[in-house]
Amino acid sequence: MKTKYSSVIWVIIGIYISFHAYVLGVGKLSEPGPGLIFFLAGIVLIILSLLDLVQEVVFTKDITTIRELWRDTKWQKVIVTMATAFAYIFLLEMFGFFVSTFLVMVVLFRVLEPSRWLITVMISLITSIISYVVFVVILKIPFP
């Protein structure tokens, strides 16, 4: 199953890449510039995605909609997980390794199946302590 028009995004990316590559300088074929490979790749990407677009629109029979791709899935959990992971970057800068790891683990351990709070906190605490010892104390990774 394929979605209609999903290749449009690749056409846009191809145009963007080849335009910027042209600005960077493609040079001459005998003296290739820094943008040459990007320019060629961008053009090829545009051609391929246009072909794919034609295929999607004209030939593919079992077309599906974007909404259908996420039907019957727990997409909310995906968003929570990703949001928590991105938040970790900022938490690291603010609170350092131990506290931010603990907070993020508490959320993630509850994403799939919320278990009892006490258990979640205990597992998160154990995880944070072990990873602190391994990564900060033993491997000496300089977290902020």
């Binding site: 199953m1 394929k2 979605t3 999903s6 290749s7 690749w10 990316i13 910027h20 590559a21 960077l24 001459k28 074929l29 005998s30 003296e31 290739p32 510039g33 820094p34 040459l36 490979i37 990007f38 790749a41 961008g42 090829v44 990407l45 391929l48 995605s49 072909l51 794919d52 295929q55 791709l69 996420w70 899935t73 727990k74 997409w75 959990k77 995906v78 997980t81 990703m82 992971a85 991105f86 970790y88 970057i89 800068e93 790891t101 993020v104 683990m105 993630l108 351990f109 994403v111 799939l112 199946e113 278990s115 597992i123 995880t127 990873s131 990564f135 491997l139 990774i141 977290f143 902020p144």
Partner: protein, 503 residues
């Protein structure tokens, strides 16, 4: 005998305690991720890539190679006991392996798969050892145009064997080249698509990119489709050693499987998955009782398991002699070599003799370790299989984030990793392949360099790419594959080939 003396020196290197330890860690971790269905070899290897920055190049390569062939062993355990392939090369093992386990012969199935893996793994190392030196000598005469041709051939074969649309796989390969070339230009030093971000000066990091693309995206897909409740793990394993009858039945299958795996493994784009399927099909053809296949026959486990292990070993040949990876996992190994300042290729055998022979020797030792890890310790892996996913996935996410950070001690790489994760997740949702993207990403800078060199050599003429025999053969094969994938009548042929899905 040159080979023997070199091999002895290789063993002297690998028997140093630290190298032995790295070899053990590699095969142990490889088995672990092979057993766990949620994380494939590419994601798992990239997770460990940052750790290897801090150890010697040889130790790093030994460990990563160990993960690679170790995963082939571990994958079968999950197939046999849970009926879920631990990684994609063990899909066929489910057919007869799980049936055997249900009949109370799990031990025999696990035993024969470990033994088959051991024999095939060892034989393929012998093949690797014998074929590589002459092949490398031959490849010494290759110039930039030949390299461009070989890289294109490798990429195209992978695309041809991709499970989805050829067109989209091609798009992903082109996009991979673009992403791989971001950063400083080797000739002029100007930064391309850097947007003034320091972290992008040297390009996008291989480890964070792969961790996201294969690790995080896999986690996200599991989360959204998570079926709560427990999997039924067959816990009653029974006698671990196959009996004499089993062994007699399997000998032929193991030998045939090894040959099939080895030859398919050497070819560009070929690999463990396709050879395990091929071996199963051939076993069914030669068997006097083909009707027994699928009901729990031991040949159906022995053949494919030896094939995928032989293919894993053989897959290293193009990398070590030509410097060209044939699939995404080996692509990561190439990345690891480069990070340590070693360029695999024909000169590896001359300039870094110790690395080559150390790795070869480590594979003999690693296979013995794997046999021990997988036979007596199978109970441990069964226990690990019982860890629920809700506990496992936060740990995978955490390790990915810590791993990404440790690459260059900056949170920028965590961002790269998470964005690659989103990209990988969306790609799978919209049916774009990850494997061509990663392989092209790794090859991108090499391809750009050789491409430009060729053009400079020929004063801007493209004729240079077809002027030598090797490169014209490669390009005709590329053309043949692309054309045949687009002609309707030949499309079916491609569809019938079992697909390499590297995750």
């Amino acid at each position: 005998m040159d080979v023997i003396t070199n091999l002895i020196s290789g063993f002297a290197i690998i028997l140093e305690p630290m190298n032995l330890l790295f070899c053990f860690l590699g095969v142990f971790y490889g088995t672990l991720i092979g057993v766990l269905p949620g994380l494939g070899p590419v994601g798992a290897m990239s997770l460990l890539l940052p750790v290897t920055f801090k150890i010697s190049p040889l130790g790093a390569i030994i460990m990563l190679a160990g993960i690679y062939y170790g995963a082939m062993y571990g994958g079968s355990t999950t197939s046999i006991l849970v009926n879920i392939p631990g990684e994609s090369a063990s899909v066929v093992t489910c057919l007869d392996g799980y049936k055997m386990a249900k009949q109370g012969r799990a031990g025999a199935a696990l035993g024969i798969s470990a033994i088959a893996s051991f024999i095939a793994g060892t034989l393929s190392v012998i093949g690797l050892m014998l074929i590589s030196p002459p092949l490398a000598k031959f490849a010494l005469g290759f110039g930039p145009p030949e390299y461009v041709a070989l890289m294109c051939l490798g990429l195209t074969t992978l695309i041809y064997l991709a499970s989805g649309s050829v067109l989209r796989a091609l798009m992903m390969a082109v996009f991979g080249i673009i992403l791989g070339c971001i950063g400083q230009d080797s000739a002029t030093g100007s930064v391309r698509f850097g947007y003034g971000i320091t972290g992008l000066m040297d390009g996008i990091g291989l480890a964070p990119f792969c961790m996201g693309l294969f690790g995080i995206s896999e986690v996200l897909l599991h989360i959204e489709s998570a079926v709560t409740g427990k999997q039924s793990v067959i816990a009653n394993i029974g006698d671990l050693l196959p009996n004499i009858n089993d062994l007699k039945q399997s000998v032929g299958s193991i030998i045939r499987g090894t040959f099939i795996g080895f030859f398919l493994g050497v070819l560009p784009g070929g690999g463990a998955v396709i050879s395990s399927f091929a071996s199963y099909a051939i076993e069914k053809k030669v068997s006097k009782h083909p009707e027994r296949f699928g009901t729990g026959t031991i040949e159906g486990v022995a053949g494919p398991e030896s094939a995928n292990n032989a293919a894993a070993g053989a897959g290293l040949i193009p990398l070590l002699t030509l410097g060209i990876p044939t699939n995404a996992v080996v692509g990561l190994l190439l990345g690891a070599f480069m990070i340590h300042g070693i360029t695999p290729g024909p000169l590896l055998l001359v300039e870094h003799k110790d690395v080559f022979w150390g790795v070869v020797a480590s594979m003999y030792i690693g296979n013995v370790m794997l046999l021990i890890l997988n036979l007596p310790l199978v109970g441990l892996w069964v226990k690990i299989l019982k860890i629920p996913y809700r506990i496992l996935f936060p740990l995978i996410v955490l390790f990915c984030m810590i791993g990404a950070f440790s690459v260059s001690n900056s949170t920028f790489d965590i961002t790269v990793m998470l964005l690659s994760g989103v990209l990988g997740y969306l790609m799978r949702k919209f049916r774009y392949e990850g494997a061509p993207l990663v392989l092209a990403f790794v090859l991108g800078p090499m391809l750009e360099y050789s491409f430009k060199q060729s053009l400079v050599m020929s004063n801007g003429s493209f004729v240079i790419f077809i002027s030598s025999t090797i490169s014209s053969i490669c390009f005709s094969m590329v053309l043949l594959m692309l054309v045949s994938a687009l002609i309707p009548g030949l499309k079916k042929l491609r569809r019938d080939i079992p697909k390499e899905e590297t995750t």
